[in-house]
Symmetry: C2
């Protein structure tokens, strides 16, 4: 079972066939008789053979590893990122690939390094900014890549994301259906907008357009993440616009603070103020009261990103943009 590492030659000898036959059994690239295949597979499992990844990558020019590039920046909600990451790993395994984790601190050079050294076959990038330093590099790389999120110039790239504009609009429509006329959006911290992170802006645009389309009175504000700042923002908001009755919150870290602040200000949810959040389901469900929300379909996005990158690896054409439609889950807060 254990001990020295088993090679394909030992498997071949044990099964009484040629090395190449074992290889073809494993890859399925040539027809092998059922009998031979069985003998080979038996030998593989009795010897506990695992192909040497390096040798395989050298000979086949495929490492069966994809890179997951995950910058960790201020204001990003880490659990959501993590769910993307695990979804990518799980999906990649389904295609018989492993995942190499790259962070930002090496800079774009790290991406070039793993690509040029054939450590990875393809790349999935998360948390893409509008003017992302990594994007120009991707264009000159031979390895296929997929972005989770949209940069300012997505032409020629493959991008996947939740349709945040539609999500923002969906929240507005829901509040409008419930009869709310004056509403507000509490978004990401200022720094996130300033950085030009796409999803924050797109939600705001969707919100603003939908507000106009429904003839509502709507205001979009950034929102910091400490309780005190949230409290200040909300109490000012309620003072300035006493008739405000609906809130869209697109900031996972602030969601609970928003509810706490409303509680402290004596506003009941949903009787006085209805709240819709754009956040992961577990955050929405754990809140008090549970929040009506559009979830960020992290698993779905991660899976889709991997599916696309695998298609590109096979040389197939894929759409430039994939926008996943938002789903609204109605709970107690509206």
């Amino acid at each position: 079972m254990s001990g020295r590492t088993v090679t394909i030659a030992e498997v071949a000898r044990h099964a009484g066939v040629a090395v190449s036959t074992v290889s073809y059994v494993l890859s399925g690239k040539r027809t092998i008789s059922a009998d031979t295949r069985r003998r080979v597979l038996d030998s593989i499992s009795t010897l506990g053979y695992h192909p040497h990844a390096g040798a395989r990558s050298l000979a086949s020019k495929r490492s069966n590893v994809i890179a997951l590039v995950l910058p960790l920046r201020a204001g990003m909600h880490v659990p959501v990122l993590m769910r993307f990451a695990t979804a990518v790993v799980t999906a990649a395994r389904r295609f018989d690939h492993d995942v190499l984790l790259l962070t930002a601190d090496e800079g774009p050079e790290g991406i070039r390094r793993v690509a040029a050294s054939a450590l990875v076959d393809a790349l999935v990038l998360m948390d893409v900014e509008l003017h992302d330093r990594r994007v120009p590099l991707l264009r000159e790389l031979a390895e296929p890549s997929v972005l989770i999120g949209f940069p300012a110039e997505p032409a020629g790239l493959t991008c996947v994301d939740l349709d945040f504009a539609a999500a923002g609009a969906r929240c507005v429509a829901h509040l409008a259906e419930r009869g709310h006329r004056r509403i507000a959006l509490l978004g990401a911290p200022v720094v996130v907008y300033d950085r030009g992170t796409g999803f924050a802006r797109r939600t705001r645009e969707g919100f603003t357009e939908a507000v106009a389309a429904h003839g509502l009175d709507g205001l979009a504000l950034p929102c910091e993440e400490t309780f005190d700042e949230v409290h200040t923002t909300i109490s000012r908001l309620l003072t300035d616009r006493p008739a405000l009755s609906g809130l869209v919150v697109h900031n996972e870290s602030a969601v609970n603070h928003v509810l706490g602040a409303l509680r402290q200000l004596g506003r009941r949810v949903p009787e006085d103020v209805a709240v819709v959040a754009i956040c992961p389901d577990d955050v929405a469900e754990r809140a008090s009261p549970p929040l009506t929300s559009v979830l960020i379909p992290a698993e779905e996005v991660g899976r889709e990103a991997v599916r696309l990158v695998m298609q590109k690896l096979e040389g197939r054409e894929v759409p430039d943009a994939t926008l996943l439609p938002p789903h609204l889950a109605i709970r107690a807060s509206t």
Copy 2:
């Protein structure tokens, strides 16, 4: 710059030396004259050479990749996990290694696969349980490994972690110094204790022993993570023991709910109830009021785990257990 992949042979030709000379320049395993070294390095950078990872791993029996095994389980605080993960990646890069991300859903078999296929040289495992299914496997593996956390039987393994018992004790000592006599620990959700996760139990033990040592009246309770459950727990606690004046919270997700609940129950922090948390610094700083806390030194733990695993790779002896001492940061909540 770009285009077809550059090989060591092309570098050698360009620099007018033998392939092996280039290799020795890169590895430093034989002395090379300053002049030759410079010529070779020049050629490398003008040609944009990056060694082929697969070829290197095949020839040298080292992939320069370590696995980070990161099960994602209920009740774990994801941002903390993520900080471990990025610390591991950063530290690994410093040793010229990359990090392969493994999740739990493949089970222990995934560990065996990446080890047996020589995809990775070594393993770092996070979020270790007392009776972890992965541990027996590690013992039979040829590849060195380091655990972040402690299983029930750590003999023969290398483990690193914050000294949670000391952290629990430190919090108790701090409250005792401030004159509090009746205190309580709000810990992890029940499921985490049931699973036998080491750090939760060790904190509780440290708390309990310190309570006895200081002659205090102390109670340790598990703590769920929804606002309503936290509220229930706390209001019952305050009803049962009206003289309670100090709280240790070891549950990142519940920290803000605890403060919210105290606020709602009309207890001021720190005047009526002092609160010490064991949680990341950013959570403590963002709370209202900012919390006196023992932080989880994720970066330090991750870095130490990598350092240890690299030492083991070099065949050096390392200590079985590394416990990092807790540091208490005093803020407004006590």
